[in-house]
Symmetry: C3
Subunit: 187 residues, 3 copies
């Protein structure tokens, strides 16, 4: 793996996490797995369990529902030859729910994007490659729920920033990964 930062995006159950895990498994040494999910109900427990069953038992797991930049820096100081961060959209959800009602809409977006920038900067500063998983959430109709619209906006901006920071960007559809940064049109 020569790329330092890799972004893997796709819809729900598109196979993006599986593809990202296969990428990470190519590392010539230990893999650090950074999980962002917060288990607050039965359904989320089920989703997290499905992910865990699939991962090699020897991967070191870090929990990073918040302050993921610090957790990533810690993981990069360990023996990991690759770091898998799954995922940016859940992390964005955690930050948005934490900030909701305490600060204004503009401040929420600014603070979340600043946190994402710190995370991406940490990834670029390490020596091991970091693979970020994210979700495409903006190709349905406009949600009726205002918080969902706000989330959709921020998640889109997060993905754009991650794609700028990434050396490679993969879009996964039906389990098939296409490299979209290499073939993108640059103006």
């Amino acid at each position: 793996m020569k790329a330092k930062v890799i972004l893997v995006t796709g819809g729900a159950r598109s196979g993006k996490s599986t593809f990202a895990e296969q990428l990470a498994a190519q590392a010539a040494g230990p893999v650090a797995y950074i999980a962002t999910a917060q288990v607050y109900d039965e359904e989320m427990r089920h989703r997290v369990d499905l992910h865990q069953e699939r991962r090699p038992a020897h991967w070191q797991t870090y929990e990073a529902p918040y302050h993921a930049d610090t957790v990533l820096e810690e993981a990069l100081q360990g023996p990991a030859q690759a770091v898998l961060f799954d995922c940016l959209t859940l992390y964005t959800t955690n930050l948005l729910l934490q900030l909701a009602e305490s600060v204004s809409r503009e401040q929420r977006a600014a603070q979340i994007l600043a946190a994402i920038d710190r995370l991406l900067a940490a990834a670029r500063q390490g020596t091991a490659p970091v693979i970020f998983v994210t979700n495409e959430v903006g190709m349905g109709i406009v949600p009726e729920n205002p918080l969902a619209r706000e989330y959709r906006d921020i998640a889109g901006w997060v993905n754009q920033r991650a794609a700028v920071a990434a050396d490679q960007v993969y879009l996964v559809v039906c389990g098939l990964a296409t490299e979209i940064k290499k073939n993108a049109v640059w103006l």
Copy 2:
């Protein structure tokens, strides 16, 4: 058509059915059309009518809201030189609604995926090519309705399995079909 199994995916009204029909029309003989829609209201009647008006009158239509593997085997034993199955997502919906409340969530997913595996196996065993149409349903925000979330998960898994079984996979956006399996990154 040298491919045995072809998957055509895309969003609602992306032109995926039209593209799949054009693919089927290239067959050097009769085409079997397998319809999965259940007409339970006026709107669905309208949607089905729109599809039917577009298809050549001489195509043989099979109805397969359930047991589609058996229907596909039957169609493949007839004179058809190509089979068009439209679509996997509606078929998944039918199975999910049939199973809802009678078995557990895990069993619903397992039974639906087993049914899809039987369908894909039937397609691979025939001599005529089979074109499956499906939908991308996972690129919006997480639905608030639990059954919709469950459906979205299963539909994503169905698409991944279909893409594994397919020789060619097309993603249709704005009526434009791109072959995504040929160009996919394999690890």
Copy 3:
């Protein structure tokens, strides 16, 4: 810019407008910007302001919530060396809300598509290139709201027609634009 009509599609906050603005900025002279948004609340005001802050101050702005074909013809008769139309989906929303309840469902679709055809014809008749921005809205689950389903259908048809009229079609994901018409599979 040799293309006469260019279509730029993508999800919400995918970077499609930014990419379209960069395309327009390549013109060797003044740019006409045709805005379709109707500001009916605080949130829409915020969205429109974000777009405006990003555009060069010397671009000439036209408002076209309705009768966009006439506005486009007017813009094409001016000094503009490129026209940016942002966006087809908002324009479709305006027309649909205007027609809702006054005519039948079939008539709404027919009238909107006729208006889009007039708009695309106007674009093809001008000498300056016209860049249309649109949204992918059909890759989430089926909306529960009937008007949202109707909108989703019409928006998909609008995108297909625009892609037929366009010389180039770009899909933007995570800020990365891929040319999808050039590489499309033609039957």
